[in-house]
């Protein structure tokens, strides 16, 4: 009776099961450590990257700024020096190196505001956008042409020639009004008395709540 029981215990099947268990547990240790695959799939990223509806033109942005549209944040991805020289009103400076730091993530990974990234041209802004897109951040846009284009179109719009169509003139006048809003003063304005009441862009306090992840409740 006892021999049968020992035979049963050490029968082949238990050893095989133990071997499978050791193999699986050991396998975990030997597997090569590789980066976790962060973000969305490459094909998805490629299709998002090719489509160009992420761009916002300087005229649209000027419109939003003039009408004080509260639903977006401007993020300047240039370095501190060029940000100190000139930057768009109410822009927050997150240099490209510090894009993925913890505190800048509070600005990028939130669904409360639209985010508009800009740099001198939209080269660095595009790179920042691609990285954010890979991490799955929503409603982030890029200013087409960046600050250079901003200068060419809004701050210093070039006067349309006489043969240009009427829309060009309208565009020019809106852009000129825009430039006045952003601080450029034209000679003919000078003689209006007391015209130095500059409408400075309102200081906006942006409070960004961290996106609430659906809590996993559990317990006994």
């Amino acid at each position: 009776m006892v021999k049968k029981k020992i035979a049963k215990v050490f029968a082949f099947r238990y050893i095989m099961l133990a071997a499978i268990l050791i193999l699986l547990a050991g396998g975990l240790v030997l597997l090569p450590k590789y980066q976790k695959h962060e973000g969305i799939k490459p094909q998805e990223l490629l299709s998002n990257v090719i489509s160009s509806e992420r761009y916002i033109t300087t005229d649209e942005l000027a419109q939003k700024l003039i009408y004080r549209d509260p639903s977006f944040i401007l993020i300047d991805v240039r370095d501190e020096k060029s940000y100190a020289d000139y930057s768009l009103p109410n822009a927050i400076n997150i240099p490209l190196e510090k894009l993925l730091d913890e505190d800048s993530r509070a600005y990028l990974n939130q669904i409360q505001f639209d985010v508009v990234l800009f740099s001198d041209d939209h080269f660095y802004a595009d790179q920042a956008w691609i990285l954010c897109n890979r991490l799955g951040f929503k409603n982030i846009r890029v200013l087409k042409g960046g600050v250079n284009n901003w200068f060419k179109t809004i701050i210093n719009p070039e006067k349309p020639g006489p043969t240009m169509p009427a829309e060009a003139f309208q565009l020019y006048s809106t852009r000129k009004a825009g430039s006045m809003y952003f601080g450029v003063v034209y000679p003919e304005q000078a003689n209006i008395a007391g015209s130095d009441t500059k409408i400075e862009a309102p200081k906006r306090v942006i409070t960004v709540q961290k996106r609430k992840k659906k809590p996993v409740e559990g317990g006994c």
């Binding site: 490629l46 009103p89 952003f182 500059k198 200081k203 960004v208």
Partner: protein, 203 residues
């Protein structure tokens, strides 16, 4: 004698069957393209090493020129012995094999397009897939009497100093220049760092 601990015999077949099904399910669809580096290291590499190539050193033997524009633009005019891989199908099978083979023979693929902004997306996608033998030709392509003219263009050069322009416009409009801080709206942004909400639960 009544069996003390009567247990049905374990059926190895059932256990193995379930294990095989589970392992099969888990390892079934291994995606073909996997990122090799996560976003943080991509960022370090981007801001770190120099991936830009200028026009005058493209005749280095192990550079392979790759044009990312569409076929029509490519036919109109392209740099000599450039290969045309249009951006939407850089991840197609033969193209990714082509890039793998480039990587083995450690040639560097130099991407170029109408302007550096157009090259940026394919460059970054491939870069994150682990092809670190990729460089970018910082060049502006334009046509003059349908002959391709390529000239160097440097990235992100700020063309105009806007603050001085605004100040000048103020001077010649005979008003004293605004002091610095009015233009740059002082920003005081309070981010409420919310305490990570612990998932409630337990009994």
């Amino acid at each position: 004698m009544k069996e003390l601990e009567k247990t049905k015999d374990i059926s190895i077949a059932a256990v193995l069957f379930i294990l095989v099904v589970l392992i099969g399910l888990l390892t079934y669809e291994r995606p073909k393209h996997l990122y090799a580096i996560n976003t943080k290291s991509t960022l370090e590499k981007l801001t770190g090493d120099n991936y830009l190539v200028t026009l005058n050193d493209i005749n280095n033997p192990d550079y392979v020129l790759i044009d990312v524009r569409n076929q029509y633009e490519f036919e109109k005019g392209h740099l000599e012995n450039a290969i045309n891989i249009y951006t939407p199908d850089i991840l197609s099978d033969e193209n990714s094999d082509f890039f793998d083979e480039l990587k083995e023979t450690n040639k560097t693929a130099v991407l170029y397009g109408k302007n550096p902004q157009q090259v940026n997306p394919p460059f970054l996608v491939l870069y994150q897939l682990g092809f670190d033998n990729i460089k970018m030709l910082a060049v502006e392509n334009s046509y003059f009497e349908n002959k391709l003219i390529t000239k160097n263009s440097d990235i992100e050069k700020s063309e105009a100093d806007i603050t001085t322009f605004i100040n000048e416009s103020r001077e010649n409009a005979s008003i004293e220049p605004m002091d610095e801080d009015i233009i740059k709206a002082p920003k005081k942004i309070i981010t409420t760092k919310r305490k990570k909400k612990a998932p409630e639960g337990g009994c």
